[in-house]
Symmetry: D2
Subunit: 294 residues, 4 copies
Amino acid sequence: MSKIKNNSPVLFFYNNSKKWLAKISKKESLHTHIGVIKHSDAIGKEYGSRLITNKDKYVYLLEPTMYDYVMKIQHGTQIVYPKDLGYIIARAGIGDGQKIVEIGTGSGSLTSFVANIVKPRGHVYTFDVDENFMKIAEKNIKKAGVSKYVTQHNLDLKTAKTMPLEEMDAALIDLGDPWIVIPKVRQMLKGSGCVFAICPTMNQLEKLTIALVENEFTDIESTEHILRTIEAREGKTRHSFQGIGHTTYLCFARKAFFERESRQLTEKTPKKIIKKPASKTTVKISKKISKKPS
Amino acid sequence: MSKIKNNSPVLFFYNNSKKWLAKISKKESLHTHIGVIKHSDAIGKEYGSRLITNKDKYVYLLEPTMYDYVMKIQHGTQIVYPKDLGYIIARAGIGDGQKIVEIGTGSGSLTSFVANIVKPRGHVYTFDVDENFMKIAEKNIKKAGVSKYVTQHNLDLKTAKTMPLEEMDAALIDLGDPWIVIPKVRQMLKGSGCVFAICPTMNQLEKLTIALVENEFTDIESTEHILRTIEAREGKTRHSFQGIGHTTYLCFARKAFFERESRQLTEKTPKKIIKKPASKTTVKISKKISKKPS
Amino acid sequence: MSKIKNNSPVLFFYNNSKKWLAKISKKESLHTHIGVIKHSDAIGKEYGSRLITNKDKYVYLLEPTMYDYVMKIQHGTQIVYPKDLGYIIARAGIGDGQKIVEIGTGSGSLTSFVANIVKPRGHVYTFDVDENFMKIAEKNIKKAGVSKYVTQHNLDLKTAKTMPLEEMDAALIDLGDPWIVIPKVRQMLKGSGCVFAICPTMNQLEKLTIALVENEFTDIESTEHILRTIEAREGKTRHSFQGIGHTTYLCFARKAFFERESRQLTEKTPKKIIKKPASKTTVKISKKISKKPS
Amino acid sequence: MSKIKNNSPVLFFYNNSKKWLAKISKKESLHTHIGVIKHSDAIGKEYGSRLITNKDKYVYLLEPTMYDYVMKIQHGTQIVYPKDLGYIIARAGIGDGQKIVEIGTGSGSLTSFVANIVKPRGHVYTFDVDENFMKIAEKNIKKAGVSKYVTQHNLDLKTAKTMPLEEMDAALIDLGDPWIVIPKVRQMLKGSGCVFAICPTMNQLEKLTIALVENEFTDIESTEHILRTIEAREGKTRHSFQGIGHTTYLCFARKAFFERESRQLTEKTPKKIIKKPASKTTVKISKKISKKPS
């Protein structure tokens, strides 16, 4: 049984919209409108215990999970929600030991979540161009306790000439124009490696799908995920009146080789392949998007 | 670059409803209605390459991911779908190194998926009472390559007197009557540990929620997850005409201690606590389900 | 072309959440936080025209539709939303000339909406027991301009011995315990007449379905209706971030006769049938709910 | 109580996927795989009664509603589903006495449904260019019993110079390129009249919305409607495993006048207004779509 000590991370949980993530520090107090919470009161207690505020309200002392860190990390623009994070992991089959490339570090929430799953033998290589965001992400990744499994790169993949990585198991893209980096992503992925892009609009899905076909990806799938909360109560069970709106659409695909020559592939061939079929396959787009090889 | 060899696992992928998972075996052939696929043709190719059937159709040779194994594992009754699997991982914050208890092994698909995430330092302990199912699950877990990280127990937790595990990070329940095992599950969980139950009906959610409150769980949340497929095509983007129906509802919670005495908790107390508050808290149920400690 | 006069109804429309329904009255002004709207400014204008407030904001002068009246009518507890209203009309095939019985007048919004569709040859007979609600409903029905096609009854159908109506085309139930009035509703409906009940909880659906089977209804269907708003914008089309939550579930059925004797039915038989089969059919419930007559 | 006679319309109802709409004809029989149904057996029975097939299965003799006609009318391409039909009625406030213009008659199902609601004092004017479709629609409208309230026009509104109608309460558009007819539709609508377009793709919504803004419509709203079936059964209530997929998106708007000059509007002005603002408003599109007049 692990007891809370000085420096232990704690989620002070009142309810799902009132909760505070903190590192216990003997002399600190948290001032909330359900009362003052003295950090020192938590020391020596078991995780899951209650603590009374000076307004006689209870908060639970929960051991933070990766979910709590992800929900805490606030993005300038938007975060990737657990319902979407979870599908990325499940559909791309991400697990221990994988090497993941992420384009668009953002706040570092997706980075931290994935690193927590591929560690200790896997790694996340993440790219961004915004120095300020990168610093914020660095802090968030550190708080989430996964810095050891993440490498941050300041590099613009859109203009980069050589790719610093290869044989990646999966690529995660969180950019406004994901279709632009697809040829670069392809070079970094292993054969049949997975790609996932966060696309808030339908137009992004459309452009990205065209780029994925042109760049020889298969098993292309665009989805959206609706999470509905149910209030289960004796004799009065129903969905929640409060609705959950749109977060993002997701687009998935796997790297393939459309040319027959792929049979005699050598290390160098991927680059050639990217250039050639783009023009050849254009006319076949509609057929190919229907995901039937021909 | 990894090339396909004899004994390599391969997903022969034609499209999302026509795909075959196999282990390459020199002399074997796969007979499908898009033609015959000779295993030997795959040997020496890079994953992602195409292969032509004798009916002049292409299949892609994909390296199977955990997703492919999970979708392949067919259950007698039902499987847990990736959209639901993913949310379980994300909401409970499951990651490398965690110790997970599963009640109801079923086909072993949830078992394999979770083991792939907690390995190599974590472990899944899974319980079932049906010998036949356990053998099927054993095979499936082996095929998914995670046997080393899974321990199967033949034990009926509903009647068991002593719990064989303790300090588990999370518990996953896939039983018709999940509420019955909640007191047992509680004993095995660490403080603030997570529980997730697969509940196909609203009535199960209702009974389970009552049991979770009586057994001092907090952050109780019932959800359902709707996955919609989008057909992204130039100038014709829309949701898929083919709908995806109900799979299951999910119920999540975290272990807490409702009594103030929890402050001076010793190793032995959890058992006492389970017995006492059940009757005391009954009258407060409606308030507590609203997730406000008081 | 109809121009706005004194006493004309107008919807001052700023946007979908800021709009005001009024009857033009020469000397009145509407004070809003987008400025003052002088009623007299609207007189002589065509519907659809703009009007400038003293804060230099525009409002459109729209001719109110039944939708605007329904959205305006605020209920003590809840209103029936257009998405649900519409399905009731469409699924029950409600149209001109039908005779409708409504149990639970509430605010009169459903009453008004339906009266507007069955008029001028049809009629809505609506029952309530709360004098205060009935007065509010009376005003709302008058404002909506359909008083002539509505008769309000102060009668508790749960205890009433004789039914004041017969051969109704459809019955609409908006009560907390709809299953209780099903035998009474049956007596008022014509053969194969439709019933629709507003059921906010799953438990109500469950109890009501059992009562519908016991009282010989067929084509039983429980549904829920999710309306999602899409923000269609050039190059940035996506679902709205703001979600719409649960409003209610709906339960539909049509009156049938389960007994073979129904072949020689006379005017009097319905009452006998109601009493007898209730007990006989209990054991067959699960089969019957699956909607297969045998 | 109305009894079934020769020539009466009947819905032979086995379950929601096995049902047959017919006009009773003494000598006819219906051959189905649940057995032979002799029409003459239905004569003299009350609607709602059962009838036994020669395979000892029951069918109910239901009086067809407009829902049954609409579901029966099969379109070459697609039908408008009740969930969508209902919302059109509710959101546009369609009721008795209204004059409706429909562009794209299709199978006549939407036509019949709306005619049944606006009759006897209202009317539906419907336009199509395909002679064959128009004949099919004519038959369907006749079967649904609303021919008297429908006028079919063979006219291509895209190229027509003068509009044959004016002061319409609402316009319904079911065309592949609805944006093209918006200026024509505007001329036929009364001030603040409603328009609804059936748009199966997101791209149509996008183009249509731009056209609606350019043509001075307000209260623009794009929606989609998800209908979920619930299987309500004692102790086992859950959503249906069978999912309902995408049918169409809907786009609604109301005719407004953006120019201040609209205050002194004369009968002729609408035409001028249509031409001018198209160019002026282009730059303001994003602001206007957000539905705030300024």
